[in-house]
């Protein structure tokens, strides 16, 4: 279980004041749960995710995973990044094995161990290609394979499909669902797409902004495994329009366009 306990984060601003990015954020994520965090830009959702990853320290509060407080990156967690963040100078197989290499395996060993994960994300045959030869969707598959390759209990995904076009995005969501059904990992998934959050998640945390805090945590009562058909169910629509209502209130623009 991941417990987020009264997390706060302040930044010093240039004019000598302080900016409160996160305030009193508390929630918990169960084992093997698909948990999404949604909120307007600047609500601190990515910062929160990086705290769970051990990349950013909270100013106050604590994150506890299975009873031990987070003090830095750990073998139990792996992250998938919005802009893929692949090594441009390394081929796909080395990229997928990079996490293993950082954990002490040799280049050769990590490349060998990476191979099955390349298959799992459907990139068999691209082992020797370079990232720039691949489309965005394929690059993010590499990012996902790299995270899966270190066999983490927890996957931390930071708007992983945010940089992709709409069709690719939907395909990636379906594939992620398929992979997650098999892998059964705890996932914390940051997104700004209500549709995506409802389709993928067991629960969705809606965040408030200025400062970032918990607004509410929604259950997603949709059966699994899910396919495209759930997107047209009344439950799905109710959920997304509820989220839209909550978020629109925060953005405070009554003329904002309808949800995607």
């Amino acid at each position: 279980m991941i417990e987020i306990r009264e997390i706060g984060r302040q930044f010093n601003t240039r004019d000598g004041g302080t900016f409160e990015a996160l305030k009193d954020v508390s929630f918990s994520v169960k084992d093997k749960e698909f948990f999404s965090i949604i909120g307007p830009s600047g609500c601190g959702k990515t910062t929160l995710l990086k705290m769970v990853a051990g990349l950013v320290r909270p100013t106050s509060g604590q994150i506890v995973i299975d009873g031990s407080p987070v003090s830095g990156p750990g073998n139990d967690r792996a992250m998938v990044f919005q802009h893929f963040v692949l090594l441009p100078w390394a081929d796909i197989l080395t990229n997928v094995g990079f996490g293993l290499e950082m954990r002490g395996l040799s280049r050769r060993e990590s490349r060998e161990a990476a191979r099955p994960f390349l298959d799992r994300v459907g990139l068999t045959g691209f082992a020797e290609h370079y990232p720039h030869e691949l489309s965005g969707g394929m690059q993010q598959r590499v990012g996902l394979a790299r995270a899966l390759a270190v066999s983490p209990d927890i996957l931390l995904m930071d708007e992983p499909f945010g940089a992709l076009d709409a069709q690719t995005r939907q395909l990636m969501q379906e594939d992620l669902m398929r992979i997650w059904d098999v892998e059964q990992k705890t996932v914390i998934f940051v997104t700004h797409s209500m549709d995506e959050a409802a389709y993928l998640s067991d629960r969705v945390l809606v965040m408030d902004t200025h400062p970032g805090k918990v607004r509410e945590v929604l259950d997603v009562p949709l059966p699994r495994p899910r396919d495209e058909a759930v997107r047209t169910t009344p439950v799905f629509n109710e959920l997304t329009s509820h989220m839209w209502h909550e978020l629109r209130g925060m953005i405070g623009d009554p003329t904002a366009p309808a949800p995607e």
């Binding site: 992250m79 990044f81 100078w89 390394a90 290499e101 950082m102 954990r103 290609h129 990636m172």
Partner: protein, 264 residues
Amino acid sequence: MRNMTRQNRNRLLSVIGLLAGLVLWEVIGRLELSPAFPPFSAVLAAVVEVWSSPRFLEALKESLISIAIALPPSIVLGVAIGLLIGRYRRVEWALDPLINTFLSLPLVALIPVLFLIFGLGRGSILATIVIYTFFIVVVNTAAGVKTTDPEIVEMARSFGAGEAHVMNRVILPSALPLTFAGIRIATGRAIRAVIIAEQVIGLIGLGGLVQRLGGAFAVEQLYAVVLFVGLFGLVSMEAVAIAERKALPWIIAQEETEPAFQGA
């Protein structure tokens, strides 16, 4: 294919330009304006004679030995210091003024000082090569480090990378393109440095040969040696460029290709 043709046309233009220059040289040389300006044909004859002469080959060997001893450690040390300067602010603050001073100094003026310190022998020649090459590798490597994508550093850290891993597997590869540019420039400068330093001694190496030929007013032979040095510099720098393309295939590929595979 069209690109190839354009490339060939550009090469042809270069050759024509070069030939025109040589013809002009020949014509002006034949006017016998000055003994310091022999016609190209006379220099060409000297090339045939000098480039195969034992004293030229002996001098060439001496110069190459000096470069072979001094340049590699200068590059290795330059890359190491450059990585530290680029990566650590405190090192940058401590060393940057010093390095920049050396880069803007007229190094020729320092050579007598080096001879004062290291004596009239190979030590001074090696030291000259080092001061001509070290600093340029340092600044290029440091600039290369600054091009590192901070997101890649963060990604590596998220997978538990320590500082050594970040240096080896993220910072160094990020810095390589500019580092190679520095090494290429340093190679050219090493050749200049060895000639200049040898001229001071006047006895050994190509620089010594140049000095003696100049003193004897053997102008054609002098030009033959200078021509060799120029060509040698060109070839050496091109060799580094080839090594660079071999070592950094993704750079060229990125510039030339669109994503080859579309779709998710």
